[in-house]
């Protein structure tokens, strides 16, 4: 037992000899490890938050949008700028593609909304009844658009939570009227907030697609089909998503009479694909944050090496004495390696604590959820020990290679 305890005791005595110096060295590692833990957990937290928001929209969702227009000189317009996708396309998808639960075409336009003395600019989305199911919508007050509303093209609206609070702060919006251009719509419901981000309906108002046609001039194609701005499709079986995407693709290509060499004039994105893309982007962002923080850990490691070199130099005579007493090279370098590893291990453990506290504070402040996961902690602690061994190696090796006679003569 002494065989293991002795070197550890010796290492700690070395550390205790210069308390301030050791504390400062440890501090370098603490800051590095704490930075890695905090930034990585912020990154992980952001990732978890964004992915869960997207999933709340429904991970079995496929969204079809019109493709980009190709304008003068081949300059591409923004996605969705082409007017190719129609209500009839949506009906065709519903009737001929397998594994489909709902198909919800919608048309959206930006409109000035006025209610009493308040006004706001919002996205007005004309929807079918299936829109509610496709996007997992829930109302906090009132009801969603009913079949009767839809059939009769009733001038009713369901408000996104932000729109409701902007226009009707402090009052119940249900039953109130909103002026939209030359038309009036009556509020029948308010949607539960989905949080900011992709596909959020918080800043939109939903009206029946049938009413949209009467209120806002909705364009038609040359064949007389009614243009829509997107078609949301939900699947009954997520595992069939690639089959469904390819069926929709070939159906729309046929309907749009595209030649075999032409590009698609529409764009299909599935939520699953989107989640995968966004998570992998966030993953790299998290790694980047970690890498930046790791630079401070590296600087801390160089500090350790510096201190160990000084320590070896100062204790040259001690090394000589130990050698005269019969210490092997191995005994000498384990002594110094243990000393630097103990320094960095201590720094690593304290750093995990500090990082964990910092991450918790960030989460408490409400700006971002943070996730301190075991793998990051394990990684940070083992990296800090690794740094101790790596940066302690050269000084320790130097110490073990000293000539005992010269070492004994040192002052």
């Amino acid at each position: 037992m002494r065989k293991f305890i002795d070197p550890v005791v010796t290492a700690w005595m070395g550390i205790a000899t210069h308390k301030l110096r050791s504390v400062l060295t440890i501090l370098g590692i603490v800051i590095g490890v704490a930075a890695v833990i905090t930034l990585m957990s912020i990154g992980r937290g952001a990732q978890a938050q964004i992915v869960s928001r997207i999933e709340s929209l429904g991970s079995n969702l496929i969204v079809v949008r019109p493709g980009a227009t190709v304008g003068f000189g081949g300059v591409r317009g923004g996605q969705g700028s082409a007017v190719t996708l129609t209500y009839e396309d949506a009906q065709a998808i519903a009737s001929s593609v397998d594994y489909i639960a709902t198909v919800a075409p919608s048309y959206s336009a930006s409109q000035q909304l006025v209610a009493g003395r308040q006004n706001t600019n919002a996205q007005v989305i004309g929807v079918t009844l299936d829109y509610e199911k496709a996007y997992n919508l829930q109302t906090t007050g009132g009801t969603f658009i009913s079949d009767y509303d839809y059939q009769s093209a009733a001038q009713v609206a369901v408000l996104g939570s932000n729109v409701a609070s902007t226009l009707f702060a402090g009052t119940d919006p249900i039953g109130q009227q909103i002026r939209m251009g030359h038309s009036i719509v009556y509020v029948i419901g308010v949607l539960k907030s989905k949080g900011e981000g992709f596909g959020s309906t918080d800043s939109a108002i939903l009206i029946p697609l049938t009413a949209m046609q009467t209120m806002i001039a909705q364009p038609h194609t040359s064949r007389g089909e009614q243009i829509v701005s997107s078609v949301a499709v939900t699947m009954t079986d997520k595992s069939q998503s690639s089959l469904i995407v390819s069926e929709i693709t070939s159906l729309l290509r046929t309907r749009h009479q595209l030649s075999p060499t032409a590009d698609n004039d529409f764009n299909i994105s599935s939520m699953e694909e989107l989640i995968a893309t966004i998570s992998s982007t966030l993953q790299s962002m998290t790694l980047l944050l970690g890498a930046i923080a790791a630079i401070s850990l590296l600087v801390g490691g160089i500090g350790v090496m510096n201190i160990m070199l000084v320590s070896v130099l100062e204790r040259t005579r001690e090394i000589g004495i130990r050698m005269a007493l019969g210490a092997q090279e191995r005994d000498i370098w384990t002594q110094f390696l243990l000393e630097s590893a103990s320094l960095t291990l201590t720094g690593g453990i304290i750093g995990v604590g500090v990082g964990w506290i910092a991450a918790t504070l960030v989460a408490r402040s409400g700006s971002l959820p943070t996730v301190v996961s075991a793998d990051i902690v394990t990684l940070a602690v083992s990296v800090s020990v690794g740094i101790g061994v790596f940066f302690g190696f050269y000084p320790a090796w130097n110490a073990s290679r000293l000539n005992p006679i010269e070492a004994l003569r040192a002052e």
Binding site: M13, R322, G326, A327, E329, P404, I405
Partner: protein, 222 residues
């Protein structure tokens, strides 16, 4: 115990060579107490370092306790030191952070023995049992040297080497230290080789070897 045959030691000082020992041939028997004397630069410390396996001869043969050690590697020499040789230095060379007892225990640290009880006995042996928990800075020079002697003898080595063991001490304390060393030699039959330039100190030994310019010029029994 010690057999040296034509031992030569040349140091490289940059590009020039410095011959410190020019063929030393010497035999020291088991249980002898020998003083090596000579003016500074005569090579007496170099000779002691070679005997102590702290350094390797440039040429020649060194047989210690029946084994040739002149061709051993660094690691093997360290092993020989840990098992067979105890050192006493002029400047005591105790570790300042450790108590007297811990310093003596250090003498056992690299020997492979698990049992550290010998350290207390060794301190008693030099009359310092009651000072076991004092640090070197709290001890007088004579007491520090006694701790150093305890550290050298704690592993019961057949050979103790002392490099000017009384060099930093006043004459009264020097006599005390020499009495302790002599009693070790007498009672435990330890072979003792010491370097000194004080004739009074050398007189405690039965044999005095005089070096000059790296050669033995006299080898007399007292």
């Amino acid at each position: 115990m010690i057999q040296l045959e034509n031992l030569v030691k040349i140091y490289l000082m940059g590009k020039s060579e410095l011959t410190v020992l020019r063929g030393v041939t010497l035999t020291i028997g088991r249980g002898e107490m020998v003083a090596i004397m000579g003016p500074s630069g005569s090579g007496k410390t170099t000779l002691l370092n070679l005997i102590g396996c702290l350094d390797k001869p440039t040429s020649g043969k060194y047989i210690l306790d029946g084994n040739e050690v002149s061709r051993l590697s660094r690691g093997e020499l360290a092993k020989v030191r840990s098992q067979k040789i105890g050192f006493v230095f002029q400047s005591f060379n105790l570790l300042p952070r450790l108590s007297a007892l811990a310093n003596v225990e250090l003498g056992l640290r690299y020997t492979g023995t698990r049992d550290r009880n010998g350290a207390k006995e060794a301190l008693e042996r030099v009359g310092l049992a009651q000072r076991a928990n004092h640090r070197p800075t709290e001890l007088s020079g004579g007491e520090q040297q006694r701790v150093a002697i305890a550290r050298a003898l704690v592993k019961n080595p057949p050979l103790i080497l002392a490099d000017e063991p009384t060099g930093n001490l006043d004459s009264r304390t020097s006599v005390e230290i020499m009495n302790i060393l002599t009693s070790l030699h007498v009672e435990q039959k330890i072979t003792l080789v010491m370097v000194t330039h004080e004739l009074d100190i050398a007189k405690f030994c039965q044999r005095v070897i005089r070096l000059r310019d790296g050669e033995i010029v006299a080898d007399e029994k007292l």
